[in-house]
Amino acid sequence: MIASISWKNVWRNKTRSAVVIVAVTLGTVAGVFVAGLMNGWVAQRINATIYTEMGHLKIQNPNFLVNEETQYSIKPIKDLTAYLDNAEEVDAYSKRSKIMAVAATARANTGIMLKGINVENEKQVSDVYTKLMPNAGTFFESKSRFPQVVISNKTAEMLRIKNYRISEKVMDSLKILEIPQDGMAKLESIANKRFITKKKFETAINETWTKSEIESYAPVLIKTAAYFQPRAKITFSFTRTNGEIGYQTFQVCGVFKTANTMFDQMSAFVKNEDLYAVAGLNANQFHEISIVTKSTDFKDIKAFQSKLSKAFPEQNFMTWKELAPDAGMLSDFMQIYYYIIMGIIFFALAFGIINTMLMAILERIKELGMLMAIGMKKLQVFAMIMLETVFLTLTGSFIGMLIGGVLISITSKTGLNFSSVEEGFEAIGWSAIVYPNIELSFFFGVTILVIIVAILSSIIPARKALKLKPIEALRIE
């Protein structure tokens, strides 16, 4: 009865109610979408942390954590692998030997972590093999007389293996991209020249093209003209187990790129059979074992961790939250963070709601006096006004959540591209293309939040109404 009066009251002054509803709708859309965006981002980061970089659990020799020296390998390796083979918690695991090395080409050098892997096992644990750059080889699928290495795009840039050249092929593909004849003709002067860095190539483009041409076509040009030196070789030098310097030359077999530049910069993969002998290791010495567990629930991972460390007290076992504390913190804290965003938005909206409701009360003093005079109790008046506020706000937020949800489900398929600021994002490990997504429970949370906000903001208008004396109120014109 009261609820139906309240609902009707909402629609008595349609314009005024519509204004508040639209405000709440926009606020909710913004809040929901931002939360979805952040959530998608965090989910991608955590996914990458686990399924590209770390695995759920990692086993290492505790000494290796202090000093990454080759001799600190995992000790009872046979017992440990036998244990892992039989453990029902384990989905897959990969053994790696890790050697800090200096990679050198004819032009540059950089420090890097060489990871000696078994290709098949590695594929089950890490999805790096799916992150290969187009036209940049394979993940150990081609045959070669040389030992092969898979490096990252960033490393290729640093070692000057990624070069830029406007070859005839590039010219042809540029023609398809509707670059005007004029601009193409200017490129002739730098065609077929090789530029070893992006910077040098950009300087050359700046000299030939006008500003407007650069703005509209330079990114495409740089992308199409980039290529990796075919059959490039990299000489790695490292400290062998006996303390001497070892050398090994690898041929680049593939180039990968993940969303995390820090990971990319530090990682180069080689087959373990090409690595262990030159490093002075034997075939059964490994520095880390990365495990993907069957259950993705963190409690189960934690339980498995303590089970393992009881069985092998001399080794170090770390969960992904310990290995990547930033990602771990995000996964714990983000839920609260979304509600904080929503809370701030609704706190601001509450002032608008209070204002509107006060207006509605002032307009209806005579009517409220009448209702009280014919016997409506104070509690009923209070309930009526409170429900009116709740209906007003809920209508807006329902529409808002609907629009926000639709937006998220559309963008979760297409992805949001922030490639103009790609470099900055990827430097801290965040993907530049985001696929927003949000859990259904978030909408329930928002609904509860909205009701609370509505009730709180109805207190002042309701108090105002309750203070009215029926006799006086009736006399007001």
Binding site: K233, T239, I245
Partner: protein
């Protein structure tokens, strides 16, 4: 058939001879610079677009495995000692009284800030064994007729270059010019030998210039002040104790 065989044998012979020749030339060149043991005084000028730095140092070497250098000027770096033993480099800095073995990470850095890397010092002896050599022509450089020898690294050699071209004087067997190429055969670095002088009965270029191809403003110029061959140094001279003692 007989004719064909003759031609075949001839070809094999000539090609084999050529390859042998080229390798032999490089070996002679390498020996000439090395001697059994030597003692030398050199000056190195590091030319950069904004400044030039000059370092003077004294070297001793024995065979291919032992090498010791002490910096004698400028005053700031004076007394720094570097010792090469097989493929290790040790460094002693008297001002902090510290002896360190250069880790792999420092091997590819320039020696004393020059265009010479520590790796060049350690690995230079593999010029003969790590490459396949062919004579590809001749050219006159600084008025001297030179063989042009193309060196392609062996498959299992740990060499960063894709190709090296050495111009070796036909009479004196000294390198007048070396060009280093990357895998795509682009020039990376040029080494020039200039101003041939006689040191202890051996004629050698007294100035060696190293020019990185992409930064022509940067150069390293090494000038040999004096060089004596087959001097009296023993293996025991190349010790950590002696690194701290020598002046």
């Amino acid at each position: 058939m007989k004719k064909f065989l003759t031609v075949l044998v001839f070809c094999v012979f000539v090609l084999g001879l050529n390859a042998q020749d080229a390798k032999e030339i490089i070996r002679k060149m390498d020996d000439k610079l090395q001697g059994n043991s030597n003692e030398s005084v050199m000056q190195m000028a590091i030319v950069r677009p904004k400044y030039t730095r000059t370092i003077e140092f004294k070297n001793w070497s024995l065979g291919r495995d032992y090498f010791m250098t002490i910096v004698t000027a400028p005053a700031k770096d004076k007394g720094q000692v570097f010792m090469k033993f097989k493929n290790e480099i040790w460094s002693y800095n008297p001002s902090i009284n510290r002896m360190i073995k250069l880790p792999p990470s420092m091997m590819s850095q320039g020696w004393m800030g020059s265009d010479y890397t520590n790796d060049d010092l350690v690995k230079q002896s593999s010029m003969v064994d790590d490459y396949r050599h062919t004579i590809v022509g001749e050219e006159t450089i600084e008025g001297r007729l030179c063989y042009i020898i193309e060196m392609i690294p062996n498959d299992n050699a740990n060499v960063v270059w894709g190709k090296v071209k050495v111009y070796v004087d036909k009479v004196l067997y000294i390198s007048m010019k070396s060009e280093y190429f990357d895998e795509e055969e682009y020039l990376v670095r040029t080494e020039l030998g200039k101003d041939v002088k006689t040191f202890d009965g051996r004629e050698l270029p007294s100035i060696i210039e190293i020019i990185p191809a992409e930064e022509p403003d940067n150069k390293t110029i090494i000038t040999i002040k004096s060089m004596d061959f087959d001097v009296d140094v023993k293996g025991s001279f190349f010790s950590q104790q002696n690194m701290k003692r020598i002046r």
